[in-house]
Amino acid sequence: MAVKILKRRPLSLLEKTYLPQILIGLKITLRNLFRPSVTLQYPEERPDIPEGYRGVPTLVKDANGREKCVACQLCEFVCPPRAIRITSRELETGGEDAHIEKAPDEFEIDMLRCIYCGYCQEVCPEEAIWLQDVFSISGYSREAMVFDKEKLYQLGGTLPDNHFKWDRKKAEEEAAKRH
């Protein structure tokens, strides 16, 4: 690699005294003194969370309130700090969920480990895990910071989308049965 030596411009006499520069600096800080502060009075004031913000990972349900997660464990696989633990189970046949075969039995995210990277959301084929706008998480014990499925659904809520995967599957199967 070639070394390029940059020549510094020699300081003028005035600059050598530093005084004008100090005055310029003082001017800047003085100007700041009269600017409105940018501090938000948290927790009374909350920031506007922009679209795509990567807050706490949460689990979401579909528009019909069914859990979207199918326990594919890809998030568990991709998670860099290994914060996710999933235990899966096979769903019983029949009933409302006839077309859902697999679901998470337990779904735990260790928020102490989570680095909010969003890989889990990116990798999720069912769009079941979302980093939403919750950003402040606290607890009194390590155990309390391991969020279980219930807590994650509580945080995530329902995300209305137009996938209706299970309904479509059901409709397709019924259409096939008619033949």
Binding site: L74, E76, F77, S88, E90, T93, E101, P125, E126
Partner: protein
């Protein structure tokens, strides 16, 4: 030109321009696989007949042109044999190589064929990968990354088929995922001869099904799951329990019988999730029994021993060992080994018995009727290990009458038992109470209940070692999961006892250390070391024991008279 000329019974063929020598009639897919390359395929399986229906293995094939009149090869201008390529691609799996054949496995046309076949396979394949148990070891996924186009041109509705068909007590079928390769059908017909699977309906509506009124319930049904290239057949035991990419696969040996089926133990974070067969063409090909796959459940059995106990009270390990030592120092000690112990444990146990001046060494036999395939009559995986090491010199018996007599006569006052239940081996509780029992084993039983010293041990999944199977094949198994906390490896326990007895054998706590001694001391193990033992095992000379009336009948690669047989055609 050497091309086309037959020398030493082998022929020259040219794969992508590379000259390869092989016996005539070699299967092209096998040959290419041996070269370290791959011809993608779904329906072909090396241990099944060729059906040639997936069309994934299409290659371009050329043969030297023959003059019809003279029967001589036609030559080019420059004297090389003229190669006639078939106008249509041919399937590699049905191609038996003949002299001078030229194969293109990577040409643009071949690639186009594969892309087309893959696209056809995928149009009706459901997007189940997130929940499919095959994901991660699915040939469809693998080849889709190689030959898939990344998007679908198919905008129509996929064919809907049943998703949860119960084929048998252990196998579940997802019909939508099935690519109709017929491996499972052929396996049932050809390998286990339990012809229960077949296709119904036609075209893309073809569905795999069991014959009405029958079930896929033979003891080898889970092999269909293994050979299914996609996730159509799934094991009901493993189904949806763990994604395969998390599993660490450790080579192991099935302890179900003396066949010594080679296995892979899939575990994650110290928990075993499944056992699958490992290919060994001299033992089990690519198969294993369903019952052998369930053996991992013994790890978490409720009568698993995890405490060191003296007189039924938990103690520290060193106290248990010193208590055991005190009883070993008497001169009326008998040793009951186990046919399930590894070679290394037999060796150390034998050393211990000699050091303690054993009055009697015996082994408990465990026979039942085998199936002539991969389950032999002997349920002990390593009786031959005990024989080779000289722990015993006769075959084990079901009833330890000799030991019972000696106890009755008062010639034995302490018995060291490794993993065996003496109460079911002809020595009743009343008799056992006359002696001090030192029980060393992984699971509790009648013997451990009456034992004065109980030392917990490990299961085959938690330790490493070797077994000698019915063919006198020395096979290695490795530790897949850690044992319960605090439980010592049996090798550690026995070698500590040995050292405590004053027989300083050095640290023999690992199989490798034991083998370093073994290979020097015993002639039949000469030159063998644990680390370099091949994955497929090593055949030992068992001729010294040929006169013994072993109980095994013929099985897949075993004939009682000769030991091994060549693979069945």
């Amino acid at each position: 030109m050497s091309a086309g000329k037959v020398t030493d019974g082998r022929i020259d063929v040219f794969i992508d321009g590379e000259k390869v020598r092989c016996p005539p009639g070699t299967n092209l897919i096998d040959l290419v696989e041996g070269m370290g390359k791959e011809i993608p395929h779904y329906c072909y399986h090396p241990k099944l007949s060729v059906s040639g229906n997936c069309r994934m293995c299409l290659v371009e094939l050329g043969t030297p042109a023959m003059d019809r009149e003279t029967g001589k090869p036609v030559l080019d201008e420059d004297g090389a044999p003229k190669i006639m390529y078939f106008p249509n691609p041919v399937i590699a799996c049905a191609t038996r190589l003949t002299s001078g054949m030229r194969v293109r496995t990577q040409s643009a046309k071949v690639r186009e064929c594969r892309e087309a076949v893959l696209e056809f396979l995928l149009i009706n394949h459901p997007l189940d990968c997130p929940i499919c148990d095959q994901a991660g070891e699915c040939l469809l996924q693998e080849f889709a990354t190689d030959y898939g186009r990344g998007y679908s041109r198919f905008i129509e509705k996929k064919v809907v088929k049943p998703k949860r068909t119960v084929l048998g007590p252990r196998v579940m079928l997802d019909d939508e995922r099935c690519i109709l390769c017929s491996r499972c059908v052929r396996f049932c017909q050809e390998v286990v001869e339990d012809d229960v699977l077949g296709f119904v309906d036609r075209g893309t509506y073809t569905t795999l099904t069991c014959y009405p009124g029958k079930q896929l319930e033979n003891n080898y049904s889970l092999n269909t799951v293994d050979i299914c290239p996609v996730g159509a057949l799934t094991s009901r035991d493993f189904r949806f329990r763990m994604r395969v990419w998390f599993l660490k696969e450790t080579p192991s040996i099935c302890t179900e019988s003396s066949v010594g089926v080679n296995t892979l133990v899939g575990s994650r974070e110290g928990k075993v999730y499944r056992i699958t067969p490992r290919r060994n063409d001299g033992v089990n090909d690519t198969w294993m029994s369903d019952s052998g796959r369930a053996l991992y459940k013994r790890i978490e059995d409720e009568n698993r021993l995890i405490d060191f106990r003296v007189n039924r009270l938990p103690v520290r390990p060193e106290d248990a060992l010193s208590e055991a030592l005190r009883r070993l120092q008497g001169d009326k000690v008998a040793f009951v080994g186990s046919g399930q112990s590894s070679v290394e444990e037999h060796f150390l146990f034998n050393c211990l018995s000699r050091a303690a001046g054993s009055v009697l060494n015996c082994l408990v036999s465990r026979t039942r009727e085998g199936d002539g395939f991969l389950i032999s009559n002997d349920a002990n995986p390593n009786v031959r290990g005990a024989l080779c090491l000289g722990f015993i010199d006769t075959l084990p018996e079901a009833n330890l009458t000799g030991l019972a007599e000696k106890i009755n006569r008062g010639e034995v006052d302490a018995v060291v038992v490794h993993n065996e239940d003496l109460t079911t081996a002809g020595i009743g509780r009343s008799l056992l109470e006359k002696v001090e029992v030192i029980y060393l084993g992984s699971h509790g039983n009648g013997a451990s209940e009456t034992a004065s010293v109980v030392i917990p041990g490990l299961t085959v999944f938690e330790k490493s070692g070797t077994f000698i199977n019915q063919q006198f094949r020395l096979q290695k198994f490795l530790q897949a999961v850690p044992g319960p906390p605090g439980v010592l490896d049996d090798l550690v326990t026995i070698s500590r006892l040995l050292n405590l007895l004053g027989k300083d054998e050095g640290r023999l706590a690992t199989p490798a250390a034991v083998w370093a001694v073994l290979s020097r001391r015993l002639k039949c193990f000469e030159g063998i070391s644990f680390d370099t033992l091949p994955e497929t095992g090593a055949l030992l000379d068992g001729s010294a024991f040929r006169s013994l009336p072993f109980c095994e009948g013929p099985s897949l690669h075993f004939e009682p008279e000769t030991g091994t047989v060549e693979a069945r055609a």
